[in-house]
Symmetry: C2
Subunit: 301 residues, 2 copies
Amino acid sequence: MTISVEPAFADWSRDIAMRMEEVLAGLLPAASATPGRLHEAMRYSTLGGGKRVRAMLAHAAGRVTSAPADRVGIVASAVELIHAYSLIHDDLPCMDDDVLRRGKPTCHVEFDEATALLAGDALQALAFQLVSEYKLCDDPLHQLKLIETFAHACGSRGMAGGQAVDLGNVGKEIALPELEFMHILKTGALIRASVLMGAACGQPITTGQQAALDRYAQCVGLAFQVVDDILDCEASTESLGKTAGKDQEQGKPTYVSLMGLPGAKSFAVELLADADTALAVFDGRAARLRELAAFIVNRHH
Amino acid sequence: MTISVEPAFADWSRDIAMRMEEVLAGLLPAASATPGRLHEAMRYSTLGGGKRVRAMLAHAAGRVTSAPADRVGIVASAVELIHAYSLIHDDLPCMDDDVLRRGKPTCHVEFDEATALLAGDALQALAFQLVSEYKLCDDPLHQLKLIETFAHACGSRGMAGGQAVDLGNVGKEIALPELEFMHILKTGALIRASVLMGAACGQPITTGQQAALDRYAQCVGLAFQVVDDILDCEASTESLGKTAGKDQEQGKPTYVSLMGLPGAKSFAVELLADADTALAVFDGRAARLRELAAFIVNRHH
């Protein structure tokens, strides 16, 4: 009899981040392949950093359905590519106009605006190439459904839409429901997709379990944003690896500006409890999802 | 016995363009749906114009495999969405910086740069949503393959890569092979995908027939570009609906600058003959593909 000992969360998450780096490096086109400068920009903005929270969510959700790690690795890569592209476009002068990301110059600063624009565009296409090229589900119809969920999360009723709503909110007096709506689209949609797609690579689950994962993902997605706002207000540019205090400076409404610092902090704790409760329908295989939620709420950068 | 009389090409192409307009209007999110401004920009840049050459190619190729028209309509819409997104991004100040497209102000002029950027991003996501959401092939594995072909055509080894190569060529002395390589990616990849995806919605074809369609698509893709260069040099801004003479002004290498006007014209005729020859393996169902190639070479805008 083999006794399998689960690594502690810190080891597991470090391992996922390292494996993601390797997998992404292998999936991204080589910088030596034409067009080299474009491929270099794609690699520059995807590799060498990032918390890989979305990849971890996909992997943790995959454990709930006993999904093969290599399939989840593809899904996790696709989600990280979309995340990387969204950051590149978000940092462009016509959007947030930021010069620092993950402690490095942003893509358009390191390369140029046109290359950054195209690198983002090509990363989005590559993400959809991955989820169609590799076998991810036993039933190909499930895989088509997975791609649909993914595309919806990226589009105008998901991430891109959230960024548009965010732009429209700058300098405006908005209330909590509008702020929440924006974040559910802007960061929540892709976080939700990470969880659902990771789980979809494994055994089928019941509608109730599906709804529980969805609820978990919503809580974690919001909590992630609330903590981001807290960190933007409390942490230094150095520890964040991106310009701190920008939200306030740009007059962007945040959970901190609307709820105050203590209010935002207790809201994050509440969301963590809700995420935990949602997982009650699962067995011990949901342990990583629980740990991950706690990690997201308690992180310092 | 019913005798079915095929409409003439002009009627057929007008009918496709009209139907595409309707289908796209129905598939695009309503401008009344949040985020309204983003959806408005997506509709503005996709509806009300364009030659719909890619949609026609998909429909003409679909006839070769007796593909159901509603399936091809989805594929054609997806390709037109990608085309529309590429034009929006291409027109941005950091790229071609153009103010006129299809006889109207470009997206970033009519809206703003950030909205144009996001509208392009969201159109790409919507395209992949469509090809995963609707049933396009009898065998879902074929549909996954279709999506892979599509994503590859959009990415760094396809359209986005071609735009990067194009940027790198500005002001450089390049020879015909490099110009051809750029166009095979920049416009050729999506035109090829239109043909292959349209055909993939119908009955399976042999490897030889697949190769013939591929050859046809390559010839038509190049011919399309050669004619574009000829028109950019000969036609007026008014008849083109976009700024004429821009290539020369920007020092961009074109078929006309490298081959001269008569050389470019005879090259286009040669490509048309090659496209025709490639179709020899098909029966009368390839008639529209032949007519479409001739239309593309003989068009005046």
